[in-house]
Symmetry: C2
Subunit: 241 residues, 2 copies
């Protein structure tokens, strides 16, 4: 039987059977999954995704480890009392190498936690799409791609990245593309000449530009800039080996 | 303030504020919203959407009206004891003129009922897309387009039809397109030269072809074949005047 690829455009109502025992790729390209990828590439030891700022602060106290940093955003901005925001540009080797990161973001960390039943759970972004597709294609299971979306709404940038991943995956194996995967791939095809322009035109891209973070959007659109693949399991995100 | 258009790719998790007081267009192009449009065009007096076959049978008994017909499907096939299935080709003037139709389908009737809080609720399909867009554009409210999807999954054919509607609407007013609307429109652009081919390539299109109903898919892809716009209110669907 052929393996399938499916894409869910938002987090809501994803049936458990689409996650359990599947290879799941979670996308929140602006910016959580990009930023977590960058943090791990910069030498961060592990990333713990949590749902709320309160949970992040409690976990830091419970861990009692000087190496812990708190990162994340609400309304795209750094959370008061946190060490870092949600910009990938903040997560440099100087700041995160050898550290443990607790992160909470509006949509990304919810999406990651939703994927917890997957056999393998990867974090995907444009910067690591070829590497994620390479790993996922070897898993020999159906592949479910989850777009974090923006609260309960469709996010153009996540769907575009899902299409990029479908395109990369389809080049590496005989997959049956379900409707969500077909549509995401075609949508990516529309924009493959300039995915950065599509990211900038998205609601979230325009919001970030309005907040002076256009460089983040530019950074997040660099397809294949890194080979780092974050893998989530047991509540912790680490670099896939 | 500019009016917005948003598209939801499935029924799940649509926030109430996206429905209440909006103009809502519900799409289940293969085949419920196409078939209901055809029934009204053929002189059916009204259509009552219900969630289950049992509810349909109970309502027929309660109404005690000889003019009532039962229509709909489960697994794309006519329901035992019902008068009609879910093929638009069955709903001819000879059969439905002057009748009242109670209909239940797997996804379409759920989607219609979900839209009940809208200020205006229209049923959209390819066959009536220009007419629906024309009416919706004059409503002077935000427009929310709901794709019924297939159970909890993305349906390519509904998203394509949403894109067609966005394209038609954008030609008739100054709308702000939210991300779902932008992506649906671009997806439609990819396929506008041959939307019928895209419908046939969808999961549901292939299923119908396998069941010998390829003519239904062909029929459902005839953009602008009718000016009839079904409008839903008070639990009943009638032809917009």
């Amino acid at each position: 039987m052929s393996l399938e690829i499916e894409v869910f455009a938002t987090l809501n109502g994803i049936p458990d059977e689409a996650i359990n025992n599947k290879t799941v790729i979670v996308i929140d390209v602006l910016r959580a999954t990009t930023t977590i990828t960058v943090a791990l590439a910069a030498g961060c030891l592990e990333v713990i995704p949590v749902l709320t700022p309160e949970e992040a602060i409690e976990m830091r106290e419970r861990l009692g480890d000087e190496r812990v940093l708190l990162g994340g955003e609400r309304n795209a901005l750094k959370i008061p009392g946190f060490d870092l925001g949600n910009s990938p540009l903040e997560y440099t080797t100087e700041i995160v190498a050898g550290k443990r990161l607790i992160i909470t973001t509006t949509n990304g960390t919810r999406a990651i936690r939703r994927a917890a039943g997957g056999r393998l759970v990867f974090l995907g972004a444009m910067i690591n799409a070829p590497a994620v597709a390479g790993l996922a294609a070897t898993a020999a299971t159906d592949i479910t791609i989850i777009c974090a979306g923006t609260r309960d709404r469709f996010s153009l940038e996540d769907f575009l990245t899902a299409g990029l991943l479908v395109d990369q995956l389809a080049g590496q194996g005989e997959f049956v593309l379900r409707d969500g995967a077909l549509a995401a791939r075609d949508y990516y095809y529309c924009h493959r000449a300039d995915p950065a322009a599509a990211l900038k035109a998205s609601f979230h891209g325009r919001l970030l530009a309005d907040l002076g973070m256009e460089a983040d959007v530019e950074f997040c659109s660099r397809v294949g800039a890194t080979d780092v693949v974050p893998v989530y399991g047991g509540g912790i995100i680490k670099k896939a080996s």
